[in-house]
């Protein structure tokens, strides 16, 4: 029987993944989850579908309301104002003190907001709360300005187009949309689709000031709007903790431990050191957050676990298209094999004869097997690898897409 008290700050993917893992190993320990968002664990990536009413409240919840009780998780609503690693205590905004034996910080990230002259009432797009704000303000005829053409901004614009809205402008500082997942050619391919939907793109541009609900852009263009949404990246957020090692985010090792004893961190509030790149990299992908949460959960129970080095994998929706980003497709060097059509974009990068990465949009056939094939020799197949029906399963010796067959 364990009477260990595990305290998890954060009720998102990293926090819940850790809690689930703790419960596997320690059925009796006390697992307390401190949540400052009033909503239960939900899927951020589906908020645009919630706004468009394709998904209901129930659908975007990642677990049922009964799940917490079923797992014996205690939820504590509140915001953390401080952590005392010496006394092993967490302070909440209502002045409660929570004692911990093992602490996980999984507090996520907050959206950046750029101060713009004259701009008030602008919205962010990150949390369910933000999505509620957007939904409360939109009507089918609303004119929308999305500042930022990254994945999240594109997803929001794509979701609004799906419900028949067209007076939408995306203002993007770079000359193309979709970075860092998309490089310029991929971004330009996607731009054609976005423009075909009637969405206005202002590229290499930004909003300098706002006057009477009209955005004045650096290029001199103007865009009158009803709703102004900022989607210009996120920054890690975490409570102030004395002596905690941080860079732009909390620094963790392969066991998801911080430099402080019994303090772990996982998810969007962390960064990990990438020896190949020689620098610390922030965590931004749902799958990585889940995996970090699991490793942190194991480490907190004393089970040896570490973050596995596996090729990058992210499959989701960009604008309104399915995409997959696998390995390192956008690094300079190597050969690029590309196939594009009106509906699909398939790029593969082969370096030194082996598959280094792929970006797939619109048609992602083979993506799971392609992930397995990273590092495999493919030079002999030449351009054939771009074909959607290329037999990746045969090449890898694994029938991963349909393992059963």
């Amino acid at each position: 029987m364990s009477d260990t008290r595990y305290v998890i700050i954060g009720n998102g993917v990293a926090g819940i993944s850790a809690a689930q893992e703790i419960r596997k190993v320690d059925p009796d320990g006390v697992v307390s989850i401190i949540a400052d968002e009033p909503d239960p664990y939900y899927y951020r990536a589906s908020l645009s579908e919630w706004i468009s009413e394709a998904s209901t409240d129930e659908m975007i919840r990642a677990r049922t309301p009964a799940f917490y009780d079923d797992m014996g998780f205690e939820t504590i609503p509140g915001s953390v104002t401080g952590v005392d690693p010496e006394a092993k205590g967490v302070s909440l905004d209502d002045e409660r003190q929570i004692r911990y034996d093992k602490l996980l910080i999984a507090t996520g990230a907050s959206p950046n907001r750029i101060p713009i002259e004259g701009l008030t009432g602008d919205l962010a797009y990150r949390t369910w709360h933000d999505a509620r704000d957007i939904k409360a303000h939109i009507s089918p005829t609303s004119r929308v300005l999305v500042l930022g053409g990254g994945v999240l901004g594109l997803e929001l614009a794509g979701g609004l187009v799906e419900i028949g809205m067209h007076d939408i402008a995306i203002v993007q500082l770079l000359d193309f949309v979709g970075p860092p997942l998309l490089d310029q050619p991929a971004g330009e391919w996607l731009q054609q689709r976005i423009a075909a939907d009637g969405v206005t793109l202002f590229l290499g541009d930004t909003v300098e000031r706002v006057e009477d609900s009209v955005a004045h852009l650096r290029s001199g263009a103007e865009w009158p709007f009803d709703i102004f949404v900022q989607s210009v990246g996120v920054r890690a957020r975490y409570p102030a903790i004395p002596d905690l090692e941080v860079g732009r985010s909390i620094r963790i090792n392969a066991h998801c431990a911080t430099n402080l004893p019994d303090v772990y961190a996982a998810g969007d509030c962390t960064e990990t050191y990438k020896p190949a790149l020689g620098r610390w990299m922030g965590t931004r992908i749902w799958l990585d957050c889940a995996r970090q949460g699991k490793v942190a959960g194991c480490s907190m129970t004393g089970v040896d676990a570490s973050l596995a080095e596996f090729p990058f994998f992210n499959a989701s929706i960009i604008y309104n298209l399915n995409y997959a980003y696998i390995g390192d497709p956008n690094v300079e060097g190597g050969e690029v094999h590309l196939q594009t059509s009106e509906t699909a974009y398939r790029k593969f990068r082969v370096d030194d004869g082996v598959l280094a990465g792929a970006v797939l949009m619109g048609d992602r056939r083979g993506m799971m097997a392609i992930h397995k094939a990273i590092g495999q020799p493919v030079a002999a197949y030449g351009d054939a690898i771009v074909q959607a029906d290329f037999a990746w399963n045969d090449l890898t010796g694994q029938d991963w897409d349909y393992l059963f067959y």
Partner: protein
Amino acid sequence: MKWDGSEYEASLKRIVDFGLDNCIGSNDCMRVCPVNRLKVNQNELDSVLVSGVWTDRVKTFVTECVQCGDCTLACPAGVQRDHMMLMLKAMLPSIPKQWRNYYMLKGRQDQDLIITLYDVVARLLAGRLGKYVDKAKLEQKPLLFYFGCYVFSPSKAPGATLQLADRLGLDYEVLAGVRSCCGWPQYLTGRMGYGQQMISHLQELIEEANPETVVTGCAECYAALVRLKKKTGASWRPLTTPEWLLQHADTLTWRKFDTPIAIHDSCHVTKKLGKPDPARQLLARIADVVEIADDPNACVCCGYYNVHANHELNEQLHHDKLEVVRERGAEGMAVECVTCWESFKEPFKKADVPLWELMVAAELATRAEVAARPEHATRGGAL
């Protein structure tokens, strides 16, 4: 290489872990599911996968899942929801009563005496196919027809297949009977251990016949053969019955039916293994082909009898199927899989719409002496 199937169970756990980590909550899997009458959400399934605490809704849904794979094909995040459903089937606290009717004796090595007695009766009832039922010793032949438990199918597909092979003058052996079950009924009913036993036993039986080609008319059996070949590196080649017959099609004389016939795509052959063409090419020799879905992957599911779990649900699926067949102007429908045939049999008979198992139709269309008689289709043609 010998394969005992246990690797699959370990792989299943990895697939479930990936699914739990990578689901983004689009709920697309549940939206496209043909049997989700309770409107179950993916979070209900994932909660049970993690906590092991069941709700009645999830229990019912897991019982009614027919493993068509539509969910996996729809997922924007690459989550294999069908495999996660298979894990839930394996986790069910007790085996639902209706499933017992489905698997009955299939592959039950613990029911040896009962199967022996059953086989005595089955051999008598199976007519000319009787000699192949759980044959004691298989002869070594380059061509092996694998009928498994569908040797007893009322579609009469096995008999038609052998008639075609005889017409072509081929030399063959037949693997048939409940002892050579492919393991799919066991997986479908959540019994991973039995499934493993079956696939392993099937491998031994095929090795005994030492064939170059193994031909089957059941999509589940075909899927099992493809997997077995992949895992063992066996030299034999698995073929569906349409693939096999197409190889010999030019040596037969075809008499086309004078009515257009729709084509139904099976989950396993078309959706999961990506082979929509052979059945169409074969049907094109028999009749004018009518497409009933703009995309073969969007074909309405047969319901797989819903594993006998929910007849009302199946009636709705079959109603939708009959509607679309009529709408597109077809005067009958052809299937490439005997399980699909058996699932559709009753509603098509009731609606007086001919339902063709492709081998039965091909046998009729290549008879020299008899004109095509589509009205016999739903009864399964003549042996």
